[in-house]
């Protein structure tokens, strides 16, 4: 491997990019300039920047990069800031796709001396990539190919961090995940299939380089400020909060708000949610907390024998969306998805669409077989492996796909929160609650509460939130810390870690640039305002009103008006297109 001298005086970053070409079985290091790192921050921003010349390639083409990037706060005492961003083009949606996940990968990537790992090419046979500091080895993984995630990990016994795919990724299921050794998933957009197309079964990485910060006292002060805010946030450290119950704490709340996607979004209330809600999970499994590296929240929950338990979205979609209430069956289905490397939300949503389209009921006991068929692309599973949009199109009923830009909707019904409705439509990666996370103000009342049944002000709220979370995904910090702290606190922390002056305004402007870059790349791949649209069902069919809460269908004109306002405030034209002058300023 060639020697690369990173830029001088970098704290927080390494200034080095490791590139691995699987076609030619070689690797090398390139330096990343200080300017590029300051502009892109890391994680999602850095990944998007590194896609600049390849974003129009087919996701499965050899030259399409698959990028793993950590952030400048990783390895410091910053809370919940050691996450990893995985970036490429989604084979499910065709959009640029950035996925954030926990686990030790980001920490080890940095300890090995890299800000990011860029993988290109296609190996002739299955391989495993092993990185130990400057030593990079591409080894045969023929003996691992075909194994589920758990068996692969058992065979590998990775030291440090590891990211692998299961059979779903190998068979290029369009919503295959990349799984970390700790059980976290880089999910939704099918980046596991991109990894499978490269015949890369797994990556293991370890390093020993210490992390340098510019101002240790400043870091400690900022962390204390953030921790005080986290302590004051009921959703985080409250008696019913995520630290105590994990994200399943949302299940009862969303049921009370009557916005639980039920039976493929035909209803918004499922009478049996309490059978798999957080208290039921606690009674059944007496969970213990598992956090991402050094995370004080530790929202992940596991059984006492360290089996990871599902989160809110997975429980809800394998529960209400499929009309199932048996907790053990739901948990088993979610675990099987993780072992096969399937995205739980897309898997459940695709099965729900198939059930409605085919008129076949869902038999809970058939789920394991159905999921296995999908992962192996056998029989009907080959069609279901392509996601709800392609499935329903093939069956002649595309209106039954509850997707935006081809991504299946997660477990918040948009008829119960109009900021969420707008966010699903305009998200750069399709129907996802995470980019704008309107759950914060519409449901959890953070940083301020907003009327969930009013579109007024939602365009601005979503824009600020999207820009903020782009920065969070670039740092790479957990979304949940932004339920309590803000860029005010994280700008101070980033300044202390790197020694470079950052302000919240600068970070927001940087976040906007990254967001617009993603939008521009999608636009160049053919996306238009027609893709910023919800499925027709939400404008035509009301949800399940009751208990004094009315859930009408969404007013299409109000939705379109707010979307138009969103375009104007974003600086897009009235067709939602990024203006050409942005090219000069793109990331």
């Amino acid at each position: 491997m060639n020697k690369v001298t990173p830029p001088r005086n970098l704290a927080g970053w390494c200034g080095r990019l490791l590139i691995v070409d699987l076609t030619h079985q070689k690797s090398w290091v390139e330096s990343l300039s200080a300017d590029l790192l300051h502009d892109s921050i890391g994680g999602r921003g850095l990944g998007v920047r590194l896609l600049r010349d390849t974003y129009q390639l087919d996701p499965f083409s050899a030259a399409m990069p698959l990028i793993f990037a950590g952030g400048p706060l990783c390895g410091t005492i910053a809370p919940a800031s050691a996450r990893l961003s995985v970036v490429s083009r989604s084979p499910l949606t065709g959009t640029i796709h950035a996925s954030s996940c926990g686990g030790a990968m980001a920490l080890q990537l940095k300890a090995a001396g890299y800000d990011a790992l860029k993988i290109t090419g296609v190996s002739a046979a299955p391989v495993l990539l092993s990185i130990a500091g400057d030593q990079v080895q591409i080894e045969s993984a023929t003996h691992l190919w075909g194994l589920p995630v758990s068996n692969t990990l058992a065979a590998l016994k990775p030291v440090g961090g590891a990211a692998i795919i299961g059979p779903a990724g190998e068979h290029q299921v369009l919503y295959a995940n990349i799984m970390t050794a700790e059980g976290s998933a880089a999910g939704r957009g099918g980046l596991g299939a991109v990894m499978g197309a490269k015949r890369l079964k797994g990556i293991q990485i370890a390093g020993k380089k210490p992390v340098v910060v510019a101002d240790a006292e400043g870091v400690e002060r900022s962390v204390n400020d953030i921790m005080r805010l986290l302590n004051a946030a009921p959703v985080i450290f409250g008696e019913l909060g995520f630290a105590e119950y994990g994200t399943p704490a949302l299940i009862d709340l969303l049921a009370q708000r009557r916005m639980v996607p039920t039976n493929n979004f035909r209803e918004t209330f499922f009478a049996e949610t309490s059978r798999y809600a957080a208290p039921a999970l606690r009674r059944r499994y007496q969970p213990v907390s598992q956090g991402c590296h050094d995370c004080p929240i530790a929202c992940k929950k596991a059984t006492r024998d360290q089996q990871r338990l599902p989160e809110h979205g997975s429980l809800s979609h394998f529960g209400a969306l499929l009309g199932i209430s048996d907790l053990d069956i739901i948990v088993a289905a979610c675990r099987l998805c993780n072992d096969l490397g399937l995205d739980t939300l897309s898997a459940a949503a695709t099965i729900a669409a198939f059930s409605e389209a085919s008129g076949e009921g869902i038999r809970a006991e058939d789920l394991p077989h159905r999921l296995g068929q999908i992962a192996m692309r056998q029989e009907d599973g080959d069609l279901l492996a392509q996601g709800a949009r392609r499935l329903t199109t093939a069956l002649g009923c595309p209106h039954l796909a509850m997707t935006v830009k081809g991504l299946e909707l997660p477990a918040y019904d948009p008829r119960g929160a109009y900021g969420m409705a707008l966010a699903y439509a305009t998200s750069n990666r399709g129907a996802c609650h995470l980019p704008a996370y309107p759950v914060a103000h519409e449901i959890l009342r953070k940083p301020v509460a907003s009327d969930r049944f009013d579109f007024a002000g939602k365009a601005w709220m979503n824009i600020v939130a999207e820009n903020t979370h782009v920065v969070g995904d670039s740092l790479v910090a957990c979304r949940f810390v932004f339920l309590a702290a803000g860029l005010e606190e994280y700008a101070a922390l980033l300044t202390a870690v790197t020694g470079v002056d950052f302000t919240a305004t600068q970070l927001l402007a940087g976040g906007e640039r990254i967001w617009l870059s993603e939008r521009y790349y999608n636009q160049m791949n053919g996306f238009t305002s027609a893709d910023d649209m919800l499925p027709e069902r939400f404008f035509q069919e009301p949800g399940s009103s009751g208990h004094g809460i009315s859930i009408p269908a969404i007013d299409r004109q109000r939705f379109l008006d707010e979307r138009a306002r969103y375009y104007r405030l974003r600086g897009l034209d009235d067709r939602g297109q990024v203006p050409s002058h942005f090219l000069e300023n793109r990331l």
Binding site: A249, L250, R445, A449, S450, V464, A504
Partner: protein, 397 residues
């Protein structure tokens, strides 16, 4: 949006936070909306064009902190560090922008507003931003005002105020001369017949707490324990607008639908468990908050008193304990001292409990705040008298 702009302009005046007619709100969606003093609107518009926020609130507090703080701080100081717990948690500190050669550097103000929730500008007033809603601008303004009020009035007792400061204190002395009235006769009497009656009683008591200026902004919380469950105000709810903002939290946590309950849920639960109370009211009456910060302990080495002080001190007969917000220790420290149904958290506020209805906690909270006002008035009087004497001896400063 214009409704919001008008609403919060009126609310700031009604709160008594600003001089009548000397506040402005400017908001931008895809249009600019504004209300209030013309000259302040002009400043707000210019600033908002530079700051990525939806709203900006600019106002002159009724005590002119924009003139007083620059006098009492060291000339080089550009930060005001609030000592009260809640604002310390949410604001960290407050930037002070000073005049240089008689001019304000507005670019500096805009830069700070891009980083912080608000600033104090010498000769101008408090400026706060709302990054996503107009309401957020109002909340931030109120928070800054509360912190500045507590911090400044504490300074008057602890330091040597200048003559130029003392001459500005007329409105304060006038306010201190009028105790808060015990307006309780119309407060719903308990016990409450059903859940509906509890909700109505909570809404009424919350409204009265705000009307009597026992809490500012969207702080404070309120609950009732009935039928093995708490009915408690939601996080971020304004006590004078609680309709639809009360969560049910069963004692056995058999549902997590109360995830949005107030951050002080643990404190409420601990107090119910330790006492026979059935209702709790938590407010931030200003004089109680600032008097709780006075401590005459000599040779104490504790630096972070608001969370680390192990002592139980007293305001009259009411105990004061330390503890951080939410999961930060209030519940553990407060519950054991609530035998008389009232306790103060250092630099934070008052928890008052009752066994029948909200008349009891309201009465206790008003009585305590009036006691603190009188005590403050007495101490300030001594300070001013001492100052006048020394002024005679050594000439005014």
């Amino acid at each position: 949006m214009i409704r919001q702009v008008e609403k919060y302009r009126h609310q700031l005046e009604r709160d008594g936070a600003v001089r009548q007619g000397r506040v402005a709100l400017v908001a931008q969606d895809d249009l600019i909306r504004e209300a209030g003093a013309t000259d302040l609107c002009r400043i707000g518009r210019a600033l908002l064009s530079e700051v990525k926020s939806i709203a900006l609130v600019i106002g002159e507090p009724w005590l002119p902190f924009q003139n007083l703080y620059p006098l009492c701080l060291a000339p080089e100081s550009q930060r005001i560090a609030p000592l009260d717990t809640e604002t310390r948690t949410f604001l960290h500190d407050i930037p002070l922008v000073r005049r240089h050669h008689g001019r304000i550097d507005w670019a500096d103000v805009a830069g700070l507003l891009g980083q912080r929730k608000g600033v104090l500008v010498e000769g101008v007033g408090i400026i706060a931003v709302g990054s996503v809603t107009v309401e957020q601008g109002y909340v931030n303004f109120s928070t800054l005002y509360h912190a500045l009020f507590v911090g400044y009035l504490l300074h008057l007792l602890q330091d040597e105020p200048r003559c130029a400061e003392i001459v500005e204190l007329g409105p304060l002395l006038e306010q201190l001369a009028h105790p808060i009235p015990q307006l309780l006769d119309d407060i719903a009497a308990g016990p409450f017949a059903d859940e509906h009656a509890v909700r109505k009683a909570i809404e009424q008591a919350g409204q009265r707490t705000v009307e009597l200026h026992l809490v500012d902004s969207f702080f404070g919380n309120i609950s009732c324990h009935v039928n093995n469950q708490l009915m408690i105000s939601q996080t971020g709810a304004s006590l004078d607008a609680l309709a639809g903002c009360v969560d049910l939290v069963p004692d056995d946590n058999s549902t997590t639908a109360g995830l949005t309950a107030s951050s002080e849920l643990p404190a409420h639960r601990a107090i119910y468990a330790a006492t026979g109370a059935t209702v709790i009211l938590h407010g931030h009456p200003k004089f109680t908050v600032l008097m709780s910060l006075l401590c005459d302990e000599q040779g104490c080495h504790i630096a972070d008193c608001w969370k680390d002080c192990p002592q139980v001190r007293y305001l009259g007969t009411v105990p004061v304990v330390a503890g951080e917000v939410g999961a930060g220790g209030i519940a553990k420290n407060l519950a054991p001292v609530m035998a008389d149904g009232i306790g103060v958290v250092y630099g934070h506020g008052v928890f008052a409990a009752g066994t029948v209805d909200f008349r009891q906690p309201l009465h206790k909270m008003i009585a305590l705040e009036n006691w603190c006002r009188r005590e403050y008035q007495r101490l300030l009087g001594q300070k001013i008298a001492g100052h006048e004497k020394s002024g005679v001896k050594s000439g005014s400063r």
